[in-house]
Symmetry: C2
Subunit: 259 residues, 2 copies
DNA sequence: AACTTAATATCGCCG
DNA sequence: CGGCGATGTTAAGTT
């Protein structure tokens, strides 16, 4: 970028329609080179090899290549890409003669990384569109209604958990991991609180149980130690597990935007 | 598809560059209407409200609207969309005068669903490109190297777990859930096997422990019952937990493509 | 870099 | 539709 001049049109979108594979190749390479976001729509096959292996026969798909090294292959269905490569990958694009018939050519997009070794191969036999996008996005997402928000809510108003509850520490460490909230009830009993922002299953009970067990061992406590799971609601099986292990449940939701 | 005739051009890509907001609106509406995959690149703000809430200030982003009701908002960084809406949503698109100054107009894309109630609002103040894609993708992804493949590998060669192991059932149900593999060792002791395709932490130990406990209660067994966690490797803390609960570990990887 | 946990997790299966 | 667990989970925070 140049100096303090009021920025010229910094957002651009350049599109090729029905390009030859060679023209598409050049446009994609140029886009990657100047760190643009590149999209390709065309008829392609996809192969992945790394943590697992996958193949995808020829079909029409939308491929997005980001300047941070991300690759996403989307079909017309599903929230998740059918294939992908995470940020930090090296991209390579070239045209290649098909092995069987030297008369046919394919456009190949490769994306690979190490740790772990992973490789994605997209082979286009036809490209309907190539676009390169440049733009700016300085802003960060602000998100609320998370587990951190639920913790804040309880710390600001401990009576929500139960009247007289006194928080003593957050993220208190035990051999089993960090306790969300550690405190005392009116009777002076130690309370271990595990927070979940949404309906909980058996996993959360196991987690709370590990913390209570670890803390009991840590404190050599013969006195009773309470474990409370805080979430909007609880499944049947988890509720039974709580009972079996002498643990408690309190229904609380994370604060919404307006609250 | 029609008969043996070489198929007519069924894949299409239609693009508008630098459209007016009204033209963009029409193109998007038309694309959604004929069940195309629609992409929009432009300067926009995004608001989400539902399971959580989020806002995103104005910036250049790539929005993809799929015919199955999915919406994805991507920036130039990250594998994950910065905002999204899952399949099954209803889309709506329209132009609207900005509240403050009636002279300014915005293009609004709404995507919403119920159960749970969720709403996504994308407001464009400028659109650089709109594209609509139609195509076919009949094929399914074939994936290998999954937990199911690991199970198959052990069932075909039980000695991999330990010499003389005899699988008796897969997915045997207990009150705590389904056991991956249920079998017997050479001494006739019941064995509960929990499979993980990658390195395991404390969660997996808790899961195995629940299964073993549930099965012991189910069988009223006074005889010893073994629990074996099978994974490529195990973390320190999980290893200690295994020891504390009298559970075992066997190192095995899911088969790779060539094996 | 390894470990642990949260997530608007997503997705598929099954009851 | 809810419960449950796998995922090429991904992503973030801490050690």
């Amino acid at each position: 970028m140049t100096s303090g001049q009021p920025s010229v049109e910094s957002s651009t979108a350049i599109t090729l329609e029905q390009p030859s594979l060679e023209a598409a190749c050049d446009a994609i390479a140029a886009g990657i080179d100047r760190e643009a976001l590149v999209t390709i729509f065309g008829h392609c096959t996809v192969e992945y090899d790394g943590r697992a292996s996958s193949t995808l026969e020829a079909g029409d798909r939308h491929v997005m290549v980001k300047p941070d090294g991300t690759t996403l292959v989307h079909t017309d269905e599903g929230q998740q890409p059918v294939n992908w490569q995470p940020p930090g990958c090296e991209h390579e694009v070239y045209c290649e003669d098909t092995e069987e018939t030297a008369s046919e050519t394919t456009l190949v997009l490769e994306s690979q990384r190490s740790t772990p070794e992973e490789h994605l191969l997209v082979q286009f036999e036809r490209v309907l569109q190539v676009s390169t996008f440049s733009g700016t996005d300085e802003t960060d997402l602000t998100l609320s209604g998370t587990e951190a928000d639920l913790r804040t809510r309880i710390l600001e108003n401990p009576d929500l958990l139960e009247p007289g509850f006194t928080p003593l520490a957050t993220e208190r460490t035990t051999p089993a991991g960090a306790i969300d909230i550690y405190g005392e009830d009116t009777a002076g009993r130690t309370v271990v609180v595990e927070l979940k922002r949404r309906r909980v299953g058996p996993d959360a009970v196991g987690q709370l149980r590990r913390y209570v067990d670890a803390l009991e061992r840590d404190l050599h406590a013969d006195a009773s130690l309470r474990g409370i799971l805080v979430a909007p609601s609880v499944t049947d099986r988890a509720s039974r597990l709580l009972g079996e292990h002498g643990l408690e449940f309190v229904s609380l939701e994370p604060p919404s935007d307006s609250q």
